[in-house]
Structure formats: C-alpha cells, structure tokens
C-alpha cells in the first residue's frame, strides 16, 4: 500500500529514479554509436584507398623499370 501511495505522489520519488542510470547509459550509447559506425566506414575506405594507391604506384614503378 505504501509503495502505491508513493507512486501516486508526483514528487515522492524525485531523485530516486531507478531508470536514471539506464537513461544516461543509453543516451551515451545512442549518441556515440552512429559516429563510431560512420567513422569506422570512413576509416576503412580511406585505409583501403591508400593501400590501393600504394599497390598501384608499386606496379607503375615495376612497369617503368622494365621499360
């Protein structure tokens, strides 16, 4: 009965929100997740492009050496 009265009172539970930690945690995750995912894709594409360029330059140098 006590707990029901507490729920009915708008301010009795103030500062004791059991979901507060979850709110903060999920806000942090949801804020960081898109940045991390898009950052990951950009990082991967840039790294792959650099690798491809290095391989291309090496191939070009090989061809020039033969000629």
């Amino acid at each position: 009965m006590n707990s029901l009265l507490t729920i009915a009172c708008a301010v009795c539970g103030a500062g004791e929100d059991p979901a507060k930690g979850s709110y903060v945690g999920m806000t942090l995750i949801i804020s960081a997740l898109p940045l991390a995912m898009l950052g990951g894709i950009i990082w991967y594409v840039v790294r792959a492009a650099k690798k491809a360029e290095l391989a291309e330059n090496a191939q070009q140098a090989k061809t020039d050496g033969r000629a």
């Binding site: 729920i7 979901a19 979850s22 709110y23 949801i30 792959a48 491809a52």
Partner: protein
Amino acid sequence: MSVQEPRKPVLPNAVLGTLFFVVAEVMLFSGMISAFTISKAGALPGTWPMPGQPRLPAEATALNTALLILSGIVLIVAHRLYKSKNPVAHWVTLASWALGTGFVALQGVEWWTLLNAGMTLKSSPLGGFFYLIVGGHALHAVIALVALFMAWVKMARGTLSPGFFFGTQTFWYFVVLMWPVIYARVYF
C-alpha cells in the same frame, strides 16, 4: 598519349550501400533496445515480467543463437571459397542459408509457444517489446535469407556478381551480429 584505366572501387558499391543501410538499421534497433532497457529499469519490483505472464525461454533460445552464429561463420567460409573460385562454394552458401532458416523456424516455434501461453503484443510491456524487437529482427532475417537464397541460385548457375554476393553477406552479418545483442538484452 596513354588513357588511364578507371580505378577499381576500394569497396563495391553494393557493399557500401548496404553498409549505410545497416548503419540506419542498427540505429533503429538501438532505439528499440534503449526504450526496452529504460522501461525495464523503471518497472516496479515484481512487474517485469508481469505476474501470470510466461518467462522468455532463454535456455532454448541459446540453440537458435548458436545456429545463427554458425550460419555466419559458414558464410565467411563460403566467401573465401567463392573468392578462390572453388566449386564447393555454392554448397557451403546453401549450408549457411539452411542454418539461418533453422534459426527462423525455431524462432517461429518459440513465438507459437509464447502466444499459446498468453504472451501477446498487448498482454504486457515485455510482450510488446519482445514482439517488436525480436519480430523486427526476424523480418530482417527473412529478407536476408531471401537474398542469400537468390545468391545461391545465381552462384549455382554461374551468374552471380561479386557485388550482389558481398552486399548480401554484409546484410546477413548484420543479422547475425545484431542477434546476440538482442538476446542478451531482451531474454535476460
């Protein structure tokens, strides 16, 4: 004057497109899991799950989870075989598809059992979240399985383009990797 050949893209367009789609889908599931987590944390003691509602079969679902993860591993093997032009690749792809189908079928059995036990979309907040999150994942799994089956047919006929196969794989890996997160959050 020599004409320079166009550069090969570092990432196939199909994979890049699927990746951006996957990012959006991850955020969709993150939003739902976030709402679930906060609702569960704020529930009054003894009301999650609601009295009279069935418990989620976490132990039985471990088998489904194992099937799905195995399916992802088998698809990685299929990818390697496909890249090395091994003719066995399409059978391995089919094995991955069969394991994924097994996961969806077992999920169907689980839903049927839960519905018969009285857990519906409207019976409790847990029921609502369960069918929304797990149902959303199942829908993605079914779409990915259709794409994977198409990839298998094309591979067997020799008409499969690498872009289609890699794009399908990207989507399937999303389905596989998203599941353990859902399983850990919703079932326990």
